[in-house]
Subunit: 196 residues, 2 copies
């Protein structure tokens, strides 16, 4: 998204991306890096068994408290085969959604910044997991709790076929979720308890 552009090559909106506002935003951040400091949040409430629900609404950014247009809630659960009630996807499936969504958003932005018109972007993401890990049944010490590997396949069509793969590679190089999933992130957890 930092590519140098000229207005002749860039209409105001390309791929549904408001490139004029995008470049104005980049200029604003260059002028005041405090604008770029964001904090995102989710709150979760247990419902029953492995079924629980997160709500996503407020966040901090551009030096102020902000809110999404509406509060949105997402259920998660385990399927019956994993002794849940299947009231939502499993938590790990949301990681796959997050990866696909982040790379796709980046593809649209980067293609727009580079003057490439996209006609379609689709992807499938799959992750392998051996539940011997989370079930505490691995006696070999070799089975991790999480995904062993994630694989994604992207299919793109656009008016500059020769640039499309590079757009995906640049999206990977600038994706927040790809970074977190491949490199990990420090996670700290506090616990407050009370007798019922």
């Amino acid at each position: 998204m930092s590519d140098t552009m000229n207005s002749a090559a860039n209409p105001a909106v390309r791929n549904g991306v408001d490139t004029a506002t995008l470049f104005a935003t980049l200029d604003a951040v260059k002028g005041n890096p405090e604008i770029a400091k964001f904090q995102f949040r989710a709150t979760n409430t247990w419902i029953s068994g492995t079924h629980n629900r997160s709500t996503i609404h407020g966040f901090y950014g551009a030096m102020q408290e902000m809110e999404h247009r509406e509060a949105r809630s997402f259920d998660a659960d385990h399927p019956a085969v994993l002794v849940g009630s299947d009231n939502g996807p499993t938590p790990v499936e949301f990681l796959l959604h997050a990866l696909a969504a982040c790379l796709t958003a980046g593809i649209a932005n980067i293609a727009a910044a580079r003057g490439v018109n996209l006609t379609s972007v689709s992807s499938t993401v799959e992750g392998d997991i051996d539940l011997m890990g989370i079930l505490g049944l691995d006696r070999t010490g070799t089975v991790r709790n999480g995904f062993q590997e994630i694989r994604a396949t992207f299919t793109l069509a656009g008016d500059d076929d020769g640039q499309l793969e590079q757009v995906v590679r640049q999206s990977m190089a600038r994706s927040a979720v790809f970074d977190v999933l491949t490199n990990g992130v420090p996670v700290s957890i506090d616990v407050a308890t009370a007798a019922a």
Copy 2:
């Protein structure tokens, strides 16, 4: 979930967890580790700009192709301040949801296995991100693309206050999402392109 239990201490259902089925599942997996090999999937389609949608339905597990009770779709987008149309949470917010959901599901299962009755579990998860990274504006080489840190706070109430914190710690120790986020996972991406 590998705690040794006896049936007297465990009613069939505790915390909404079918403990009898849970222990039977553990026994089945012990008898045939192939049952534990799962693959989860998401498919994503670009809509416009940073707006895209994932669908989660089929998965592989217990040595067969399976499906969730229904196909479920989730939109992701960037908010207006990040030059999107705010048709859904940002991709990184789904990572926070996944973490809260995975730890909460584990808390319910582990508490049930240990004979602890829960009355409430809630959590807030927040992640700090400096967008100088993904915007390609960091010239110091020190700003990553993803979250710099994730912090969660869990609040639990139950009938055995003294055990609740240990239940959370055990959930962290056996959480698929906590493992992926803290340790990272190999991600490979294939790209197929076509002229429009």
